[in-house]
């Protein structure tokens, strides 16, 4: 197991799949010859079959070329045996059918920014990289919808929609690289989901390639179609019951005015109290984020003007949007509440560049934290917002007990915590102990009446926690849902539900790769 040490994942440039095919591989493909061992030949012929579907330049199989497909933003890692980048629905369907026939697992993948191992291939097999399907097929401004391919980058969609006075509301922190397909799989959130809802509230329909390899539409532009809400069931299914190949999303009108504020508090408890107090006053801000003392320490040196942070134990970032008049009134109320709760500094910005500057600390926190420790384990848990104070206290206490500093940068408004546990994988035992600390933090969230994931999914990482919040009967019902879509052991195996043979334990996998499909015809 290798741990995450990639601060600022959200700033990575979008991967261009074609560029990643090395010249060396092209030479190897050109010089493909016989005389190999049987297993090699099998894998080579599966590769050849994949190449026949998508073209030679859209398949990777040399271990060196596939390194970046071994991991996502979690601390899990496992090598696939081939990576294939389809360009059409028909190609996706053909790949799934081929893998089924060959008895090889498949794992769909977007930009790989998830925190729970959803894009990792725990049993090897074929990773289906959706990053070549990047077309915005339709921008329907009148009906406020767009039809996109799954590889479209979240931020890109909002940029294009902006020309029509619209945007795509869910805005994960990784929005500059993460894809709509990945967002659909994980039911992703983001800072502005407090007021606007998460991915499922903005997904109207999709064309899906099912585990059988059959493609079909669920939902569509017209809402409330007769029948069960398959679209709703599909969103958040983490790529285990199908691969979305076209997606209809709702677009949201841009607000007329936006006000961004920061409030600095000498005590963390005061900041948490302000979160509840703002909501209790009937204000649902567009965003309500918190950074704690450790994060402040990390970002302050990078923000020379941010004197408001000095001496603060927590800073709230609050954004209100809507009509000019409401934002003025709501901002005044927010300021009053924050001051009542003990805020010592309060800054308001309305101009775009000033607002950006206030957001900087929040958006670059993970990157800045990377300067303080070699590795971070970023958690994703949810608590009722009135329980923020006791749970944050527990999180700190757990960190102290394990000797791991923990920074908290999170969506306070909806109680979605993101504790970042700092550790050093080079020190023996730390990689294991950090998982134990993480498990205790999850338990604290559960005990407070919360959940084990707010926006990054269960994936591989959280499977073992599922029985802590769901009974055996609840989990059995989820298995039924999976079965209804025809899920198989080969279709993105080992994710979400705590079952499955040969899956290992969460993030710990069998070290040796199974051969590429025992008993295949190739």
């Amino acid at each position: 197991m290798v741990a995450l040490a990639r601060p600022g994942t959200y700033d990575w440039p979008a991967p261009q799949f074609r560029r990643m095919v090395s010249e060396a591989q092209v030479r190897r493909e050109g010089a493909a010859g016989g005389g190999m061992m049987a297993t090699k030949r099998r894998s080579r012929s599966l590769v050849a079959a994949l190449q026949r579907i998508v073209g030679a330049d859209a398949v990777l199989h040399a271990p060196d070329d596939m390194v970046v497909f071994e991991y996502d933003a979690s601390i899990g890692k496992h090598a696939p045996q081939a990576v294939v980048a389809p360009a059409t629905t028909a190609q996706v369907a053909a790949i799934v059918r081929l893998a089924n026939a060959a008895g090889v697992p498949i794992v769909p993948r977007g930009a790989g920014t998830g925190l729970s191992g959803g894009a990792v291939a725990p049993r090897g097999g074929v990773v289906i990289a959706m990053t070549r399907m990047t077309r915005i097929l339709e921008m329907d401004a009148v009906n406020r919808m767009a039809v996109v391919e799954p590889g479209v980058v979240n931020y890109k969609l909002s940029q294009v929609a902006h020309r029509y006075g619209l945007h795509y509301a869910p805005d994960p922190s990784s929005q500059k690289v993460c894809t709509i397909g990945g967002n659909i799989a994980e039911n992703s959130g983001g800072p502005h989901c407090l007021a606007y809802g998460v991915t499922t509230n903005h997904a109207l329909g999709m064309e899906v390639v099912l585990p059988s390899g059959e493609a079909m539409w669920m939902g569509g532009k017209e809402q409330d179609r007769p029948g069960y809400d398959l679209t709703g069931l599909f969103v958040g299914s983490e790529g285990t019951i199908g691969i979305a190949t076209k997606i209809v999303v709702r677009l949201t009108p841009n607000p007329e005015a936006v006000r961004t504020m920061v409030a600095a508090f000498p005590e963390m408890e005061q900041a948490s109290g302000a979160v509840s107090a703002i909501i209790a006053r009937g204000i649902v801000p567009a965003a309500l984020e918190m950074i704690d003392a450790m994060t402040i320490t990390a970002v302050r040196p990078l923000m020379p003007d941010a004197t408001y942070m000095d001496g603060a134990a927590a800073v709230l970032l609050i954004e209100v949007d809507g009509l000019r008049e409401s934002t003025v009134e709501e901002a005044a109320l927010v300021e009053a509440v924050c001051r009542e709760q003990g805020a010592t500094q309060f800054v308001t910005a309305t101009r775009a560049e000033e607002r950006e500057r206030l957001w900087w600390a929040r958006k670059n926190a993970f990157g800045a934290l990377g300067r303080l420790a070699p590795n971070y384990y970023i958690l994703d848990g949810v608590v009722p917002r009135t329980k923020l104070t006791p749970v944050l206290r527990q999180v700190n206490e757990i960190g102290k007990r394990y000797g791991f500093p923990i920074a908290n940068v999170f969506h306070a408004g909806d109680g979605n915590l993101h504790p970042c546990v700092a550790f050093d994988e080079r020190i023996a035992g730390q990689s294991e102990r950090v998982l134990e600390a993480g498990a205790e933090i999850m338990q604290a969230c559960i005990d407070a009446g919360g959940s084990i994931t707010g926006e990054h999914g269960v994936g591989l990482e959280k499977k073992k926690f599922m029985p802590l919040i769901f009974s055996a009967d609840d989990l059995a019902a989820q298995e039924k849902l999976k079965a209804a879509f025809g899920a198989t052991e080969l279709f993105n195996p080992c994710k979400v539900l705590p079952s499955g043979a040969g899956c290992g334990d969460g993030l710990k996998f069998p070290q040796r790769l199974p051969d590429l499909g025992p008993g295949t015809a190739w």
């Binding site: 009906n143 959130g189 989901c193 809802g197 499922t200 509230n201 079909m216 539409w217 669920m218 532009k221 017209e222 809402q223 409330d224 179609r225 007769p226 029948g227 069960y228 398959l230 958040g236 299914s237 009108p253 841009n254 509840s276 909501i279 209790a280 009937g282 649902v284 809507g322 009509l323 409401s326 009134e329 709501e330 608590v383 009722p384 917002r385 969506h411 909806d414 009446g449 919360g450 959940s451 994931t453 707010g454 269960v458 599922m466 919040i469 769901f470 009974s471 009967d473 609840d474 989990l475 059995a476 019902a477 989820q478 039924k480 849902l481 079965a483 209804a484 025809g486 979400v496 539900l497």
Partner: protein
């Protein structure tokens, strides 16, 4: 299968004698003319589970019923043995105002819940006909929606947790009680709009909304459809965030006016109704903006003054089909995008005229969902079911021509026998069938009523 008397005895043992209805009362609980063999008020999750265990053991067909306001949805049941009455499971289990969430039992009425929440300045912003009778379980199972979906979404946007009892009598929970949660499959969505065919909803947890500090309702009356739609499109393009923006035809407006005392504006054929909510200054400005847009666009603007009158207006609109004095004989719902809307509105009205029917229309403009309420000429029930049944086919074809769909949400049993209320399902029916098979392999939950005869 036990005889009716024996069945009632077993149910009495589960729920108590006073909670089982007498044979004489049963016809009141008939579904599409099919009278159940027993009807029982359940008071706890455990009782629902016991009834379902009995049903699956004996192969009894069970239909859950809350306020009984949406029982005419779907195909006529294939079988019906027990009507499970959830109305007495009516506790608000948890409401923490600072969390802005509430967990309730399925039998709580939407109106009752909102009255309780209003004391804390909050609301569950879902619309339902007859909201004082409609229960949360029913609102979810029927996926009722109305004008306020423009501002607040529908049940799928508000539900954060659910508990159901499955066909075998096993209580199952999905979701939780926090507002943001992606742990596991989003099983909750299966039960919204499923008409009780996958499980009996017993508890639900919602994300609430604050009552806005100020609200205004404005109606704009137009002579021509094009004028009304042009104004609506202009308003939407301006970035206006109305919490409701509906297009009504004159028939709907007249029906609402009759019940609320608003002026009928009889020379106007199409009415835009908008609700604007927010801080007082913001609402005041939006009202000015909408008023100007209406008058500039050739319309007559009519404000509906006062909190009470506004609430009554919107509820009256939602109630159009279930108005006691003049209930609609058929309610249709279609999904239609902007491009198809004018032709569909005109098509529906022409159809009504040609068939000696009257149709009231209410289009939720930001969602592309249009409801139609149908009466005989003069407002009664058509004597001949054939006319309405024929209309269904024609209207569905028209909606389909624009890429949309049409379903009949409610109609007389006679119409149901002649017309397909759901319409032909697409290839995704295979997954729906499989879902039904997984959750109700014996077909004991409202068999036959859902899409594809599930």
């Amino acid at each position: 299968m036990p005889a009716a008397a024996e069945l009632t005895q077993v149910l009495q043992a589960i729920a108590g004698a006073t909670n089982c209805l007498s044979a004489a009362e049963l016809p009141l609980y008939a579904v599409d003319g099919m009278t159940p063999r027993a009807a029982v008020y359940v008071r706890s999750v455990e009782q629902v589970a016991e009834v379902m265990r009995l049903a699956s053991r004996e192969g009894l067909a069970v239909t859950a019923r809350g306020g009984g306001t949406a029982m005419r949805q779907g195909y006529a049941p294939a079988r019906l043995d027990v009507v499970l009455l959830t109305r007495k499971m009516d506790a608000v289990l948890e409401h923490v105002p600072a969390e802005m969430t509430a967990m309730v039992e399925a039998g709580v009425t939407l109106g009752g819940l909102n009255a309780a929440l209003a004391k804390h300045g909050q609301m569950l912003p879902l619309d339902a006909p007859a909201s004082s009778r409609a229960t949360i379980g029913g609102v979810l199972a029927a996926n009722t929606s109305g004008a306020h979906r423009a501002g607040y979404g529908t049940a799928r946007d508000r539900l954060i947790g659910i508990r159901i009892v499955d066909a075998a009598g096993t209580p199952v929970k999905a979701g939780g009680k926090v507002v943001k949660n992606v742990a596991g499959y989003d099983l909750q969505k299966a039960f919204i709009g499923s008409l009780g065919t996958l499980g009996v909803i017993v508890e639900a947890t919602f994300k609430l909304a604050p009552l806005p500090p100020s609200r205004a309702t404005l109606a704009g009356a137009f002579r021509e459809l094009d004028e009304a739609l042009a104004v609506a499109r202009g308003l939407l393009a301006s970035g206006l965030r109305a919490t409701a923006l509906d297009l009504l035809n004159a028939r709907t407006w007249a029906s609402v006016c009759q019940r609320t005392g608003n002026p009928t504006m009889s020379d106007r054929r199409y009415i835009l109704a908008a609700e604007l909510a927010g801080t007082p200054a913001a609402v005041q400005r939006m009202v000015g903006q909408v008023h100007r847009a209406i008058t500039d666009g050739g319309g007559k603007s009519h404000p509906i003054e006062g909190e009470q009158a506004q609430a009554e207006f919107w509820q009256a609109l939602a109630d159009t089909g279930v108005d006691m004095a003049q209930p609609a004989s058929m309610t249709t719902r279609c999904g239609v995008l902007w491009a198809g809307l004018p032709s569909l509105v005109h098509g529906f009205e022409a159809m009504a005229e040609g068939s000696k029917l009257e149709v009231g229309l209410d289009a939720h403009l930001t969602a592309g969902v249009m409801r139609g309420w149908w009466w005989a000429e003069g407002g009664g029930v058509p004597k001949d079911d054939t006319l309405a049944a024929e209309a269904v086919g024609t209207l569905r074809k028209a909606a389909g021509h624009h890429g949309g769909y049409m379903v009949v949400e409610s109609c007389a049993p006679g119409v149901k026998r002649k017309a397909d209320v759901w319409g032909q399902a697409g290839p995704e029916l295979a997954i729906m069938r499989s879902l039904k098979q997984q959750f109700d392999p014996q077909g004991v939950l409202s068999p036959g009523r859902f899409v594809g005869g599930l």
